[in-house]
Subunit: 302 residues, 2 copies
């Protein structure tokens, strides 16, 4: 006879109710069933779980330790069942999202947190990418939902929706030569190194915001931010991402020859229609559609 969940739950019930009989009543079984069950478990484990000297059984030291562990196991099974029922009820087992690195981590994490609270049974997979990466991952079925800043025009093949805009501002390290100057001309910008986002697919950012002749193309926005800190060059970076660093003075907004050159780049939401998203996926899509409101909310908070 093998270790069975039934025996473990019986074990726990006895400990909780104080006696074999009480456990039996509580479980709607005969007392003899409980007695033999626990007896079998003891034989199987080779460990005496209760001492039966007095009227009521009392946990042995080994029993105390094993009880704690048994509780964990039974609890895990409970969660297992709940998760399965969630799946049975049409909630996704797993939801995979690809996000452009430029997209605000703050908004994303806030959303994921709420998602986790609402759909605890659903696993999450979040991938990061830039430019064409996101679209590719959705098209290939690697992920279910994508949040992307399209290089050129968004593909019409898969469902998509314009959900927001991200503002970019030119920034440099506080000790960068350009930081001090006012009303920078195009020539000023050209003469210093610009850091530009690229992707494995070879796409670049929109030509209209590539000023420099000396260009470094870096795959990761995170890496670019780091390089800008270190004074390696200037770059157009998302307003949200650099807000904190601007406030602290580590980064400086470059003042351009024409005021308010602040390119607005559209943010698109794309998803696979093929495999119908479950309830959790639908919820995520809806919430993502509202991110423009978020922007407002977050701005208000500051």
């Amino acid at each position: 006879m093998n270790l069975s969940l039934n025996n473990l739950t019986t074990f726990i019930k006895i400990a909780d109710n104080g006696s074999f009989s009480a456990a039996a009543r509580h479980m709607g079984k005969a007392q003899s069933a409980v007695s033999t069950a626990i007896s079998n478990l003891e034989i199987d484990l080779g460990v005496k779980l209760f001492s039966r000297d007095g009227k009521f059984p009392v946990l042995t030291r080994e029993g105390q330790v094993l009880l704690r562990e048994a509780r964990q196991i039974v609890n895990s099974c409970q969660i297992f069942r709940e998760r399965a029922s969630a799946f049975e009820g049409g909630i996704d087992s797993i939801l995979r999202i690809a996000v452009d690195e430029i997209f605000s981590q703050e908004i994303l994490l806030d959303l994921l947190e709420r998602f986790g609270a609402k759909y605890p049974a659903t696993e999450l997979e979040v991938l990061y990418g830039v430019l064409g990466d996101i679209q590719m991952m959705v098209e290939q079925g690697r992920v279910d939902i994508g949040i992307l800043i399209p290089g050129e025009s968004p593909s019409q093949i898969i469902p998509n929706r314009l959900v927001s805009h991200i503002g970019f501002i030119p920034v440099a390290s506080f000790d960068h030569p350009l930081a001090a100057k006012k009303r920078l001309t195009r020539h000023d910008l050209e003469s210093h190194r610009q850091l530009v986002i690229t992707s494995r697919g070879g796409e670049r950012e929109d030509e209209s915001i590539i000023f420099g002749k000396q260009i470094w193309m870096i795959e990761s926005t995170f890496a670019i931010m780091d390089l800008v800190y270190r004074g390696a060059g200037w770059s157009f970076l998302p307003t949200q991402a650099v807000a904190r660093d601007l406030k602290k003075g580590r980064l400086v907004k470059l003042s351009l020859f024409m005021d308010n050159v602040e390119p607005l780049v559209p943010v698109y939401l794309i998803w696979t229609e093929q495999r119908r998203l479950g309830m959790a996926g639908q919820w995520m899509l809806e919430e993502l559609s509202k991110i423009d409101d978020y922007h407002g909310t977050l701005r208000d908070r500051e």
Copy 2:
């Protein structure tokens, strides 16, 4: 039919072996048994775990997620069994130790770490106390092993062994009035507040090291150290415990009228004979008997 471990292991075996038949062979069962088992599990959960379109079954998305969880459950059961066998083999389920606060944390933690590696199945409970506390806990059966600095004479009722000595030195905060003076007389010491260890039982440290007339009796060594830092008074504290603070200059060793007044207090090991200690307990006793060697080792390291 309830969730059973058998079904879960079958589920895992199928996933690992790639087919129902292979799993059956691997488990030494008939293929029909595997087939019905997994079928029942699916019906029970209400979730399709494998798609049987092709020749070989392939995990559904839900199956993938649930498989991971099933693995954890079965693994927990494995550990549960191993723990039980350890107990069956005479290894303690739990070992409870009471330690005098004065005793070196460094030595103790090092020992506990090695214990945990050697006896993973055994739970540990460590209590701290001072003076009579330890002996009381062992006598009352609250703990199995005690490490104590006896107030007067060690009880002869329970087994005991002298294992080490702890040196005490008089210390005060660096800005304490006594800190600057050289060759302090007994009168000097008497005129400043001395902090002395006491216990709930009312014992005090040995009279020979109580100089002051103005005395605060504090229950915890940790609290005393904190008070000494803050300049509340001077105290005899264990050399090891204050070594680091002396080096950093936060505490100062008081230079007494007679040089090298450094009381050596014996450290005893006591234990219950009543309930015979299991293998883990025996090992702990043996290692604790060697702590004098430890002192040497630790000194060498510095």
